[in-house]
Amino acid sequence: MADAVEQRPAAERLARIEFTDRPEGPIAAAIIAGGVGAAALGLFTTLAEASTGFKDWLQWSDRVGPLSGKTIMAVGVWLVAWAILHVALRNRPYETRRALVVSLVLIALGVLGTFPTFFQLFGE
C-alpha cells in the first residue's frame, strides 16, 4: 500500500520529464571496448615479459621504457575497438547487461595480465 502511494507520484513525475529515445547499442559498444582496452593492456604486459624482443620494441621512449609502448598500444586498441563496435552496434538494441558481462570478463583478464605474480611467470 505504502509502495503504491510512493510509486504513483514517481510515475507522475517521470511523465513530466522529457526523454529522447536512444538505442543501447552505442552504450554496449563503449562498455565492451573498455574491456578490450583493459585486456589489451594485460596482454601487452604479459607478452613484454615473455619476449625480450617485444619488450625492447615497446620502448618507444627511453625515459619511460617499455611502459610507454604498452600503454599507448592499449589505448590505441581501445579506441579502435570502440570505433568498430560503435559502427557495428549503433542502431542495435544490444543488451547492456550482456555487454557488461563480456566487459567484466575482459577486465578480469586485463587485471590478471597486469598482476606481477602472473606475468612474471612468463619472464625469460
Binding site: 510515475a11 526523454f19 552504450i27 562498455i31 573498455g34 582496452g37 583493459a38 611502459l67 547492456t96
Partner: protein, 170 residues
C-alpha cells in the same frame, strides 16, 4: 620549508590530482545513485544531470591527467639509472625489493585501466542523459564501471603512497 621540482610533480600527481579524483568520484557516484524515479523531480533533473555530467567527465579527465603525469613525468625519475633513484634503492635491499617488483610493477600498469573505464562511464552519461532514470539496468552498469575505475585507481594510488614513503622521488 620547500619542495624540489620533482617533489612538486610528485605532489601534483599524487595529492593534487588524487584529491580531485576523490572529489569527482564522490560527486559522480552520488549523482548516479540518486538518478532514480523516486528521488527525481522534473524541476530538479536538469540541475542534477548537469552536476552528474561534471562529476563523471571531471573524474575521467583527472584520471587521464594522473596516469599521463605519472607515466611520462614522475615515473622516469623513479626508474632513472644510477644508485640513487627510488627504483635502485628499493631493489638494493631484499627487504624492500618487493615494493618495486610487486607494488610498482602492478601500480604502473593497472592504473591505466581506470581512465578507460571512467571515460566509458562519462560517455554513457553524456549519451544517455535522462534515459538513465528510466533504464535502471544501464544506470547500475554505469555505477559498476565507475566503482571499478575507482578501485583500480585506489590500488595504484595506495601503492604509490606506500612506495613514496619508502623511497620518495627527490
Amino acid at each position: 620549508m620547500s619542495f624540489s621540482y620533482r617533489e612538486w610533480w610528485g605532489l601534483i600527481h599524487g595529492m593534487g590530482l588524487g584529491a580531485l579524483f576523490l572529489l569527482a568520484f564522490a560527486g559522480g557516484l552520488a549523482g548516479l545513485y540518486s538518478l532514480r524515479p523516486a528521488l527525481i523531480t522534473p524541476e530538479g533533473v536538469v540541475e542534477r544531470l548537469r552536476r552528474l555530467k561534471v562529476g563523471v567527465v571531471g573524474m575521467a579527465v583527472v584520471a587521464w591527467l594522473t596516469v599521463i603525469s605519472g607515466t611520462w613525468i614522475v615515473y622516469p625519475w623513479y626508474r632513472a639509472k644510477g644508485p640513487t633513484s627510488p627504483r635502485s634503492q628499493l631493489l638494493a635491499s631484499p627487504s624492500t625489493k618487493d615494493w618495486h617488483e610487486f607494488g610498482m610493477e602492478w601500480k604502473e600498469h593497472i592504473a591505466w585501466i581506470s581512465p578507460i573505464l571512467a571515460t566509458v562511464v562519462a560517455f554513457i552519461v553524456l549519451y544517455y542523459g535522462t534515459n538513465l532514470i528510466r533504464h535502471d539496468r544501464v544506470r547500475r552498469t554505469a555505477i559498476t564501471l565507475f566503482v571499478l575505475a575507482f578501485v583500480f585507481a585506489g590500488i595504484a594510488g595506495g601503492f604509490g603512497a606506500f612506495i613514496t614513503k619508502v623511497a620518495p622521488v627527490k
